[in-house]
Symmetry: C2
Subunit: 123 residues, 2 copies
């Protein structure tokens, strides 16, 4: 169903807020992450930096309930429409990871900060 | 501003309909593609299969006018809010490349077909 060969066993995965349409984040999935996402209806990604499955929300509690799953024309990207528990997808505490906008004057933070990562991750 | 090192000189680029919020496609950008996108306000990607810049719409005329540019927390992904000329982003003639939905019964085509690729690309 998906072509995992084009990017070394991975496909791109976009999470979009099912209610508002806001694009929340982009990450990667291997076959195991995709299968678990489909089966459990919770978003599971593959962390390239940690080289293992990343069950979104396993630390913060901010899991993503998967409402719909779409696959693109090339079968190398997945779009998840999700309900983001806790209201923030970004580990920096913003609703969306795309919280910075590039304008003529440069980058500015336009996203809404929902939580303080120092409190949530207790690191 | 962007980290092109994490994926061999490339970052992910998502195009989203600026008016409706529909996710249209995902592709790649190298530094040159990103710079030209910012400068011209038209989406320019990097085609891995053709190993060159891909000025979206150069064949079909369906260019993407860039309304807003966002950068993610890791600085390895770009989100473009665009106006898609011709109404279809997908080379298969659909509004969005994510025109197939995975349900319990399998994949089904749910996207709207805007043009016939055999006519537009004349191949």
């Amino acid at each position: 169903m998906l072509n995992f060969e084009k990017a070394g066993g991975l496909v791109s995965a976009i999470a979009q807020d099912a209610a508002t349409g806001e694009v929340l984040m982009i990450a990667w999935m291997n076959a195991e992450a995709f299968d678990e996402t489909v089966r459990t209806r919770r978003a599971v990604y593959f962390s390239r930096s940690r080289n293992k499955l990343w069950r979104k929300g396993e630390e913060s509690g901010n899991v993503q309930e998967v409402k719909e799953i779409f696959i693109d024309c090339d079968a190398d990207a997945v779009l998840l429409k999700v309900h983001q528990l806790g209201g923030a997808a970004c580990h920096e505490g913003y609703k969306s990871c795309f919280f910075r906008r590039l304008d003529a004057a440069g980058l500015s933070t336009v996203g809404e900060r929902v939580f303080d990562p120092a409190v949530v991750y207790k690191k």
